[in-house]
Symmetry: C2
Subunit: 335 residues, 2 copies
DNA sequence: CTGAAAGCGCTTACAG
DNA sequence: CTGAAAGCGCTTACAG
């Protein structure tokens, strides 16, 4: 392995001078610099970043916590984060927590020992309380938070209330009055948004119209939808707080002989790639995941480099409704 | 930040002794060790891994190259690799190449400067020639390789020829004689396997029965399937070299009024989670991705720690056919 | 079993 | 503009 010292000898200078031409922070006579650069090329020198890290106390490395990387949601965030990091010369230490607190603690300790320059935590609401984040020796930014947003850290997330509102507004505009919701308990905010849209027209969405899925899969959606569609009063529309449930709901509707969107409208949430393939194609609320990831790292990097003001902010990105084929006017006889 | 020196002073020893009790590689008198451990706890000392790395030349870090992390295939590999790494106390530096050679080169240089202990390259066949892997200062292991498997590195991959064979054997057992293939050019081996199964019964699958998809999506599959299903002789079965194409093929069959599996059998490849949701549910070749990832890192780690013999091996994991609803006996009139 | 010394490869003031 | 010195926090032989 060729070191800075080797380059220095070859160029007939000391290693401090080599360091200076590399960093560019100190003026070096052009002729000397050229000699140094030539030596670097000839020797194929590449700086040892761990030595540099020890000297500077900065590792050019940031950690990213995500619950998982399976599924379009977090996968896209990871890629976006990596892109931004790469643009700035940083590397990504990926930690998937799998919702396992012990594992996350262990990972957190590892990142600390490794002196990461910053940490981004995406959507691990269940874990955050277990992490000794307060003792972190580096900036922390949160993203993809929905409920229980901590106030001690900058957060970049989605306006989930508005997401639900958009779904509700759309259904109201189509004339629907009786809506049922298929939800996960953690998606309370999205349901609140839907309720607000209906409330604007004086229609209440009772708790009895909210059905919890017992597993976050199409199967869970099938069961919840079956319950919802056979309850009284019969809903003419369904909002699911994430797409997987909507997939199951489509099946349930088919099984019950209710055609979509003629007899029943369905709105999903997340707009995952697969929902474009369903029959009928699913109307869904799209959330700007990539933008969210990008903003979050950029904020983190700003803190890391201290070039920006370290304001503790909450940033909400706006979702957007993508209307496809699974929603239509309320059936006339259902008024 | 508390250092080893601080611990030493607190315990009334020198830092070398602290180092000894932490590493456990040198005997320390129990009483002394206890004092040191107490000091560590009281001070909340945690070793600085970058300093250790500089001293030892090892970073307890491995790099992983994947083309992308979107899609079940690589996502699962990433998670499995991270799991194994974590079990062994290593951290994961993730690099998604996005099939961009320039980007990959840059990433590779970064990993080198960062002194990773090893590198795992998953499925980036197009990039490998562009990487100065030969100059790598660390062990390299390849996984998920299909064609053009380099001989200079250990490889852990799937027996893709067998995957195609399993699909072919299944279709033959159902009596199909006229099969069409929807493929990507890089999946030649899978097609070879299918051909072998048909050849066993004296049936040739001509090149004219192989249709290339021009994009790796259901849309691409739709177009290719439409071409295949309207060509003469009419195929009674379709094999797609990856599931996304099969999704499009199902649509195409529907559009052409051919019911699956009564008029047409379809076999996919990869057995991605979403294919369980199609109607009819897709028969597909399942490949042990997680096991592949696990074996590959374990092999890499063995090389890194030099505890195993550094044999250059090619390891092939066996795929498995998952029969669902999209395949059935050849229609009687098509014999 | 414990301490004194040197070194890993770099950077950062500080003199000249 | 360039060189000599010290130091980042650890580990590794090597004496005692």
């Amino acid at each position: 392995m060729v070191t800075m010292q080797d380059v220095a000898e070859r160029a007939g200078v000391t290693k401090q001078t080599v360091s200076n031409v590399i960093s560019g922070r100190v003026q070096v006579r052009p002729a000397t610099a050229a000699r140094v650069r030539a030596a670097i090329d000839e020797l194929g020198y590449t700086p040892n970043l761990v030595a540099r890290s020890l000297a500077t106390g900065t590792t050019m490395t940031v950690g990213l916590f995500v619950p998982t990387v399976s599924g379009a949601f977090y996968a896209e965030i990871v890629e976006e984060v990596e892109d931004v990091l790469q643009e700035h010369g940083y590397h990504l230490l990926l930690c998937t927590t799998r919702l396992d607190g012990e594992r996350a603690r262990h990972q957190f300790a590892g990142l600390t020992s490794r002196n990461v320059d910053g940490l981004l935590v995406a959507g691990d609401r269940d874990l955050i309380d277990h992490l000794p984040l307060l003792e972190a020796r580096f900036p922390v930014v949160l993203c993809a938070w929905e409920t229980g947003v901590p106030e001690s850290y900058p957060v970049v997330t989605i306006d989930y209330e508005r997401a639900g509102y958009l779904a509700g507004r759309h259904l109201r505009d189509l004339g629907h009055e009786r809506v049922a919701v298929l939800a996960s308990p953690v998606h309370r905010i999205r349901v609140d948004g839907l309720r607000r849209a209906f409330a604007e027209d004086g229609i209440e969405v009772p708790d009895s119209a909210v059905f919890m899925a017992d597993e976050p899969t199409p199967r869970g959606g099938f069961a919840a939808a079956t319950a919802a569609l056979t309850a009284e009063p019969r809903p003419t529309a369904l909002f699911t707080t994430y797409d997987a449930l909507a997939l199951g709901a489509l099946e349930a509707a088919r099984a019950l002989g209710r055609s979509v969107p003629e007899d029943l409208s369905i709105v999903g949430h997340d707009d995952n790639p697969e929902v474009r393939l369903t029959r009928p194609a699913l109307t869904s609320v799209s959330i700007p995941k990539r933008e969210m990831g990008r903003q979050a790292v950029e904020l983190l990097l700003r803190e890391v480099t201290k070039s920006g003001t370290p304001v503790n902010s909450l940033q909400l990105l706006r979702p957007r409704l993508i209307v496809r084929e699974s929603t239509g006017p309320v059936p006339p006889h259902a008024g």
